[in-house]
């Protein structure tokens, strides 16, 4: 190291103006990077909180409830939003005192659940299977408080049917069956615009996991029942996030003649639904009512997470909460169902109502794994 180099470094003190410009540049790029990430992840514009929030917690004498969302946050238009809806209903109908904490990263789950356990909430609800490990850990340490996990069975790993945890699971095959039935009716008659008469429908599953398989099995059975000679194509995107993959699958299926595509792949599936829209054919949404996407959504196979959450809070209030087992929510319990039916297909509503009645009455046996 000769002294000239040292001098170069000494120049530090006179480089201030450059510093500002560099900082500004860095800040701009950083702001852009944040913006891009923000848009990519949080996606949906909020659209406003659904009406008046509880705000105060005065006067309630119902159970105290803590709700921990997964990374999707409250504006996910899906499980988190629905769980919150159930909680809000319990606040107004049962006087429950609810607190919601949104998780920003996976490492937040255990901290947020732990907060509620420490405050001895009567019930702590975790949204989604990603929280299974965290709920298991916290519930093991907090045997005096009750927990519920949405869309996950307490009989599965890592749980060992803990006495203070209840799994809230759904009969997806029934919702899939209804969606399939409507698709079958539409294909059979073939009068809606966009149909090609080939009598081919399709579905895209995210992965071969139980909830997805149950949806697909019901869908397949429903289509076959109401459409003679209909073909059902089934593909898996192996992904729940990347919209491009589902878009590709949907395009492939449409090139094979499919004109109704049922997405069972969460966020990835939105790609399928936009491919469907571009092609001018029909799509079926999943989990939440996705009719907001446009008039091309024939209907949605929905899970009424709000019903399950409300029901569980009520059970805690009544003292009838049963841990160590799953609450199974089907059509009869209003735990699954169909979303809004597209305006163009309203004429099938009465027919669908009959199918719903039949399923509720137990007249139909619906398979739980696709053929």
């Amino acid at each position: 190291m000769s002294s000239t180099r040292a001098d170069a470094a000494q120049a530090t003190t006179t480089r201030a103006p450059r510093w500002w410009r560099t900082s500004l540049y860095v800040a701009l790029v950083a702001a852009l990077a944040f913006g891009v990430v923000g848009c990519g992840k949080r996606g949906g514009t909020s659209g406003g909180d659904s009406g008046g929030d509880s705000g105060g917690d005065g006067g309630g004498k119902g159970p105290t409830v803590g709700l921990v969302t997964d990374l999707g946050g409250l504006n996910d238009r899906s499980f988190n939003a629905l769980a919150n809806k159930g909680l809000e209903k319990a606040e107004s109908d049962l006087g429950a005192q609810g607190v919601v904490i949104e998780s920003k990263s996976a490492s937040d789950y255990e901290k947020n659940l732990g907060q509620f356990a420490q405050q001895k909430k009567d019930l702590t609800v975790g949204v989604g299977f990603l929280m299974a490990d965290s709920i298991n850990n916290v519930a093991t340490k907090s045997t005096g408080t009750k927990f519920a996990i949405i869309d996950y069975s307490v009989k599965d790993d890592p749980f060992k049917s803990p006495a203070n945890v209840r799994g809230l699971i759904f009969s997806e095959q029934e919702a899939g069956y209804l969606a399939g039935a409507l698709a079958g009716m539409v294909e059979q008659e073939g009068t809606l615009k966009g149909l090609n008469g080939a009598k081919v429908v399709s579905a895209i599953g995210g992965q071969k996991i139980p909830p997805v398989e149950k949806y697909l099995a019901g869908y397949q059975a429903g289509v076959k029942k109401f459409c003679t000679g209909c073909k059902v194509l089934i593909d898996y995107s192996q992904d729940f996030i990347d919209q491009g993959k589902c878009q590709d699958r949907a395009n492939a299926q449409m090139s094979k003649g499919s004109d109704i595509v049922f997405q069972v792949a969460g966020g990835c599936g939105l790609g399928a639904l936009s491919a469907v829209k571009a092609k001018g054919v029909w799509g079926i949404g999943v989990d939440a009512d996705q009719a907001y996407l446009g008039a091309h959504i024939l209907t949605s196979a929905v899970k009424n997470v709000d019903v399950a959450v409300f029901d569980t809070i009520k059970a805690v209030g009544d003292g009838t909460f049963q841990g160590g087992s799953d609450g199974v929510y089907g059509l009869k319990e209003d735990g699954v169902g169909l979303g809004e039916i597209a305006p163009a297909a309203k004429q099938y509503e009465t027919q669908v109502a009959t199918v719903i009645a039949d399923v509720k009455a137990g007249k139909v046996t619906i398979p739980t794994s696709p053929k």
Binding site: M1, A8, V26, D49, I101, K111, G114, Q119, S134, N137
Partner: protein
């Protein structure tokens, strides 16, 4: 000692002003939507530092972002802008998770230590790749590191996806098996049964000290600074810009890799595929480094502050001080505004120059952005 003597109050002034200004903006926003700002900020402070549990949660949140902040800092000192913290953290946590899950033959504490070292190497190589592409092919490191983020995400998704090599055998879920207990970071403080501070915060402080020493006290640190200031002059002075660029990016990647590993082995139970695409610590590191004025000590304070704000968001939600869903967004806004104000420090400098001018003679020349 030396650290304190060199401490320049004016260098700390801009970040402090930026934080205060951002908090004021947040306060205005709260009143604008019709809520009680004072009450909300009370909840925020309570959630951030109001109890031992709150302090513990803040420390847990700070550790990984201090590390990713140091990553951005060291690259910046070498004149490189590392936006690849995300990808480097992912490579780090993938290796750390694999070691923690499968290398159960490692005895005692060596298990998690090896996992952290592995993470640092993996992240470092991922960072060095960007450095290498820059010197070998002239590829802009900003673009390359952003792209490598996606490569790392997709690589991890392949490893953990159904049928992937790291996915737990016989499971339906796209995730790895549970980490072995010895592979997890040891707990050092549990103010309550549910909040357990792990050794990650110590790791972050050790790495920060190392980073400061490296930059301020070693030959390679001197070269990093020289190249960062003026690469041509450094080259002319006999330094190898190539070497410094690759080493600088290796260091940056290693710190980010540690950040990912500290968060994963400290607070999670297994690797999950769905987390990879939403990991935030990489970008949070940019904010931390900016707020910390690209100094090691600054990164520590900035990381603690950003962690405290995130804990404060939980505090606000706990007290229902704002409608559900608003608290996390508000904190995001405050953090963003902080970054904006720090970057636009010229505003504060002009302001302080004018104020100072009113009281007496202005200091000779505008202050530098803080040394070391």
């Amino acid at each position: 000692m030396n650290l304190l003597r060199r401490f320049d109050p004016e260098a700390a002034l801009v970040p402090v002003l930026a934080v205060v200004a951002a908090m004021l903006v947040g306060m205005v926003l709260i009143y604008a939507i019709g809520y009680d700002g004072i009450y909300a900020y009370g909840s925020l402070i309570n959630g951030a530092v109001g109890s031992q549990s709150a302090i513990a949660a803040t420390m847990l949140r700070a550790a990984p972002i201090i590390l990713t902040g140091l990553s951005v800092m060291i690259a910046f000192r070498a004149g490189l802008f590392n936006i690849g913290g995300t990808g480097q953290a992912i490579m780090g946590l993938l290796v750390a998770g694999t070691i923690a899950t499968h290398f159960t033959f490692l005895p005692g504490a060596s298990h998690w230590i090896v996992a952290l070292v592995g993470a640092a190497c993996a992240g470092g190589l991922w960072g060095a790749l960007a450095g290498f592409l820059k010197v070998a092919r002239g590829a802009n490191e900003v673009v390359v590191t952003i792209m490598l983020n996606y490569v790392a995400i997709r690589f991890g998704e392949y490893l953990l996806g159904l049928g992937g090599p790291l996915q737990e055998k016989g499971s339906d879920n796209p995730s790895s098996a549970l980490f072995a207990d010895s592979g997890r970071l040891p707990k050092i403080w549990s103010p309550d049964p549910f909040t357990e501070v792990n050794i990650g915060i110590i790791v972050a402080l050790v790495v920060a000290t190392f980073a400061w020493f490296l930059v301020a006290r070693t030959s390679i640190g001197f070269q990093i600074r020289a190249v960062g200031l003026q690469p041509d002059a450094a080259e002319y002075g006999g330094m190898s810009v190539t070497k410094v660029t690759v080493i600088g990016m290796f260091m940056a990647g290693a710190f980010s890799g540690l950040g990912g590993a500290v968060q994963t082995l400290g607070e999670l139970d297994r690797l999950q595929k769905s987390e990879l695409s939403v990991i935030q610590i990489g970008f949070a590191g940019i904010a931390v480094a900016l707020l910390g004025r690209n100094t090691a000590l600054g990164c520590v304070f900035a990381g603690l502050l950003m962690g405290a704000l995130d804990s404060g968001a939980v505090g606000i939600q706990n007290d229902n001080a704002l409608p559900s869903g608003v608290a996390t967004k508000l904190i995001g806004v405050i953090q963003g505004v902080i970054v904006l104000f720090v970057g636009a420090d010229v505003i504060f400098r002009r302001l302080s120059a004018r104020v100072a001018g009113g009281f007496g003679k202005q200091r000779a020349g505008p202050a530098s952005g803080g040394v070391a």
